[in-house]
């Protein structure tokens, strides 16, 4: 159940599922059959891509960290499906889902994780740093909450230029306790910037539960301290995500007002794959219960089967397509070359990369 800001009313700690059929809300009812299938395709694609990337990680093909989005897919898929021409999006290091949702290819994403030259950042960023400015996607940022002022900056630029749009700045529940986020909430509200902060609350900041990290567990309430509107909703039903986020986005675009959206979701895997202890700070039963009752992939599938959009046969076909695409991306990544060593010193300075007129003066790099 979506709960709207009422200063005197307490918010239900756990919004109850299925009190309302969000699929019949106007913003969802207006979806064509193809658009609904696209939503399903996006969610399946993220799931299958990440399952394949996990295998690659376990095979030692992917270095560093791998923060999986499995269990949270409906959040990115739902919100990205609402984006318009001048809307922009930025997120933290759990960024694969948002990347695929905006239309980045599995090939460029998988190759990036493999550290290959064909990756979206030529292998310079890795799993946590996917970017696609041509799709209004500004990353992929590794430091907790560090992306939140950047998101406000994207929105500031829209307003400065007189463009009608909004910036969607995603963060996790662990990020709410960073100073930069709270400073940014204040700035956004003070200056009436069209940014929607989306807290993807999966209940755990790495291995520390929400209860053990935040004095006020209703994270959206923090908006009150900055005179900002907020709303809380569930993240397992893509139609609920769309219905609630849509209101926030319209408000941002129309009124140049920020919004704090807390979406209650869940990750099935550890904080990163290296977090092998994730079944020690939470129970197996807790994970299984969420999977059984709220799996975002099953939920959207049920919706679409029941309204006749999808048949079991088509669902199976899409699933296989996405598995094949993920498999092909792993092959593509595996067979791709790493960048030549000369790439180490490109993309550091715009002025060096674009010195068409030979105007550069002085030494930029200091190697013996």
């Amino acid at each position: 159940m979506a709960t709207t800001k009422k200063k005197t009313a307490a918010v239900a700690k756990k919004p109850k599922a299925k009190l309302k059929n969000f699929a019949t809300a106007p913003i969802n009812k207006s979806l064509s059959k193809d658009e609904k299938i696209d939503l399903y395709r996006t969610i399946v694609g993220i799931r299958r891509f990440e399952e394949r990337s996990l295998r690659a990680y376990n095979q030692g093909k992917i270095g560093g960290f791998l923060h999986l989005y499995i269990g949270q897919e409906a959040v990115a898929a739902g919100i990205v499906s609402l984006m318009e021409e001048n809307d922009h999006i930025i997120t933290a290091y759990r960024d694969h889902g948002h990347a695929l949702a905006v239309g980045m290819s599995m090939n460029e994403c998988m190759a990036e994780m493999y550290g290959k030259h064909t990756g979206c950042s030529k292998g310079k960023g890795g799993s946590m740093h996917f970017f696609a400015p041509d799709k209004n996607y500004w990353g992929g940022h590794g430091i907790v909450a560090g992306q939140t002022p950047l998101g406000a900056g994207l929105a500031f630029a829209l307003k400065y230029k007189g463009l009608k749009g909004c910036a969607m700045a995603f963060l996790g529940d662990g990020a709410v306790n960073q100073g930069s986020f709270m400073e940014t909430l204040n700035l956004a509200s003070l200056w009436n910037i069209p940014v929607v902060f989306v807290i993807e609350n999966n209940g755990y900041s790495m291995g520390t539960s929400l209860k053990r990290s935040s004095a006020e567990e209703n994270l959206a309430h923090r908006a009150d301290g900055f005179d900002m509107e907020w709303e809380v909703c569930n993240g397992h039903d893509v139609f609920e995500v769309r219905e609630v986020a849509n209101r926030a986005m319209i408000r941002a675009r129309e009124e140049h007002k920020p919004f704090l959206l807390e979406i209650r979701t869940y990750r099935y895997r550890g904080h990163s794959v290296a977090d092998a202890n994730h079944e020690k700070y939470r129970t197996k039963e807790e994970i299984e219960e969420y999977k059984r009752t709220k799996d975002p992939l099953n939920v959207v599938k049920e919706h679409l089967l029941s309204d006749g959009t999808l048949t079991e046969e088509l669902a199976k076909k899409i699933d296989q397509e996405k598995k094949d695409e993920a498999e092909a991306s792993a092959k593509f990544a595996d067979e791709s070359p790493v960048a030549p060593r000369s790439e180490i010193q490109t993309d550091v300075y715009w002025e060096v990369d674009n010195d068409s007129e030979g105007k550069l003066k002085g030494t930029y790099f200091f190697n013996d």
Binding site: F131, K161, S180, E183, W350
Partner: protein, 325 residues
């Protein structure tokens, strides 16, 4: 040529760039209605209004990050740090996002921001307000940093910094704001990466930057008058990019080098310059390279001791005599 203050020169640069490019805006604490904590932006808010001169709350991390985000979409924010020391609470934004977004995206974006404000000690404000972090900035590939020593350079470098498509730090100095130099009426730019020879000489090369370059020039005059030593003074102006050639050409001529900076010695800018000189002009050196830096401790509050702690004419002359020995 009109004689104007360092402060006025920076203001002229900001004023002219605001008029030249509609995407240039000034952001920071007290920059607009209060007219600037050090009056650098005095009158600009009255002239250009709320859109271009933006007062921020005391939230360096948020407004630095906001400026970076806005710059990705083509805005060119010039953010003022009331003291460059305050940038320390925004280091994640400036040093991670500012310098690395371009790299980590494989060159898909760039961050055309300017971070400006005073970076100096010598004003009895204690260690926390007296940082000179040009060495830290220069240690982050992707960032650029300049340290103007006079009004002419301050204006020309500021204009170059604003037009640059990479993040540039402009390190100003509160002790220079009220000093006057000749600055032409007509428009000019001082390019990044070009050092300036403040005084020619034949016996010793003094390499310096920021206010220390002016102290070195004064010391060089005394060295000539009282000690018969002809010192050449190289003002770096730009730390990164760095004009190595001017440094090396001078050392090849004088065969001796004294490096003067307000930074602390360990990993200071001059540690790198010393390395470059020994690497590329080893055979030209007749004596070890000497350095005069801030005496290696947090800045002293008490004026008399802080004045001794920072490079001053007496200490520079002492260093020069060692270099000549």
């Amino acid at each position: 040529m009109p004689l104007i203050t360092y402060r006025e020169a920076i203001k002229q640069a900001l004023d002219e760039e605001i008029q030249r490019d509609e995407n240039v805006c000034i952001m920071g604490e007290e920059v607009a209605q209060y007219n600037g904590a050090y009056k650098v932006t005095e009158g600009l808010w009255a002239k250009h209004g709320d859109k271009r001169l933006i007062d921020t709350p005391i939230s360096e991390a948020a407004f630095s990050g906001l400026a970076i985000g806005a710059s990705m979409l083509g805005i060119r924010p010039v953010i003022e740090m009331m003291f460059m020391s305050f940038s320390y609470v925004a280091i994640d934004q400036l040093f991670n996002n500012g310098s690395f977004c371009r790299y980590m995206s494989g060159g898909l974006m760039n961050v055309p921001i300017v971070v400006r404000g005073p970076a100096n000690g010598g004003t009895s404000v204690g260690a926390t307000h007296s940082h000179t972090p040009e060495n830290m900035v220069a240690n982050h590939p992707g960032l650029k940093v300049v340290c103007p020593s006079n009004a002419y350079d301050a204006k020309g470098l500021m204009k170059a910094a604003i037009r640059d498509n990479d993040p540039v730090f402009v390190m100003e100095n509160t002790l220079l704001y009220g000093e006057k130099w000749e600055v032409p009426d007509e428009e000019y730019i001082v390019e990044l990466g070009v050092a300036n020879i403040l005084k020619e000489g034949t016996d010793l090369t003094i390499v310096s930057h920021g206010r220390c370059a002016m102290l070195s020039l004064q010391a060089a005059k005394t060295l000539e008058e009282k000690h018969g030593i002809s010192a050449e003074v190289v003002d770096l102006r730009s730390i990164r990019p760095l004009d190595e050639e001017t440094i090396l050409n001078s050392v090849r001529k004088t065969h001796r080098a004294l490096l003067v900076e307000e930074n602390k010695p360990f990993c200071g800018v001059d540690a790198q310059i010393s390395h470059i000189i020994q690497l590329k002009a080893f055979d030209d050196l007749d004596a070890p390279i000497r350095r005069v830096s801030a005496i290696d401790a947090p800045n002293f509050y008490s004026k008399e001791l802080e004045d001794w702690q920072l490079p001053n004419e007496e200490r520079i002359i002492e260093g020069a005599l060692k270099a000549m020995a």
